[in-house]
Subunit: 233 residues, 2 copies
């Protein structure tokens, strides 16, 4: 019997038109869409992005929506990922192809990697479909280049001491999910005395997208700050 | 009279199916496609990627193919960019929309930024359409994640002392165009005694794509090496 295949599909930052042709082809053909939720009653943003594509389908499809809560407890998280992998495995074993959709790109800070490891151990075929990352989406929205010539770009998911230590060695810094730590970020960035520009983007490529100079201070979840230093150390 | 608009369109790493829906819509509607060539007789890779989309068009379009040679001389380069901006300006002034196509993403090491600055100075509207970057394309091809949890990703366009200095502060390093400097790269990477994995991708997402462990030693132009360190300093 034919075994199913798992696709990790990057759906980009928010605008459905930022899906790739390849992603839309897969989303129109797989039997099962897997779209994790962060809370029991919270609708999935990734699912809302691909919904217009799914609405064009004639054949039915199933939706798996495993719960991936935003918690720090590693062993609890492992149980959630185990459970998700188990449900996906059952579908693959039944010969159904599964598209696991993920915001941005599946290889950049995505829960897809944890689930994919488990599915790979079970021996199923996996293919990753790259997506538009939030940071190139943000740079496009802000109308700036992230890097030119020999510039080094650093992508940092968390505002902490490691950012402080690496700062003097890079030219452009993309700091993700910045709203919750904007004061500390401002302090770290201002300790570097190079000439710099700071731009933040909230809800990139969505209808309420907001691009502005400076740090992102209100607690919107999807915010990214880009710091560009103009002279090299 | 209506003025034209300049679109910077990222066409991704090589596979036409990695174009976004947004990019295809623009490519089917603009009056002019601008696709720089690196040599007089060399066909443009970006143009070959979008050709299947252009072939679906009913209306005619013009192609501008300014020469952007791969030289280091800054003042000579500036003249080439000035010339390209001038031709684009003429088209915009005639009310024609222009799509400047660029491999990967227009905000990451793209000549688009140099031309866009000049067009912006002339007061025309510019919109950037993000594309799949070569490094997420490479990670997808290799079936690996670039970053998980708190990991810091560093993107480096050149193998030199700056890479050496920043290395101990990051977790994943994406080094672009590595073939020409693979020996020095290997030396720098091996000086770091952390446990690591090294994967190179040549001609990502193209028909002759080649993914392998270790460094990329033959002189193919489009090669990228991903170094992942497993333990943090």
């Amino acid at each position: 019997m034919k075994k199913g295949k798992l696709f990790g599909v990057g759906v980009g930052p928010g605008d459905t038109d930022l899906l790739t042709i390849k992603a839309t082809k897969i989303l129109k053909n797989v039997e099962v869409i897997c779209s994790p939720r962060s809370a029991k009653l919270k609708p999935s943003l990734a699912l809302s992005i691909v919904q217009p594509i799914l609405d064009e389908r004639n054949e039915k499809y199933d939706i798996l929506d495993p719960l991936f809560p935003m918690i720090e407890d590693k062993s609890a998280l492992n149980s959630y990922w185990d459970l998700a992998a188990e449900i996906i495995n059952t579908n693959l074993s039944d010969g159904k192809d599964v598209a696991f959709i993920t915001l941005g790109d599946p290889t950049i800070y995505s829960t897809f990697s944890y689930v994919a490891k488990r599915i790979a151990e079970s021996g199923y075929e996996i293919e990753i479909i790259p997506g538009i990352t939030s940071f190139t989406g943000c740079a496009a929205a802000a109308g700036i280049s992230l890097a030119e010539k020999d510039e080094i770009v650093v992508i940092v998911p968390k505002v902490d001491d490691r950012l402080k230590r690496i700062m003097e060695y890079g030219d452009t810094f993309v700091i993700m999910k910045t709203s919750r730590h904007s004061e500390i970020l401002e302090e770290i960035v201002n300790q570097d005395n190079r000439d710099k520009s700071i731009i933040s983007v909230q809800n990139c490529s969505m209808q309420d997208e907001n691009v502005f100079e400076g740090f992102s201070k209100d607690k919107k979840y999807l915010s990214t700050t880009i710091v560009k230093f103009r002279d090299k150390k």
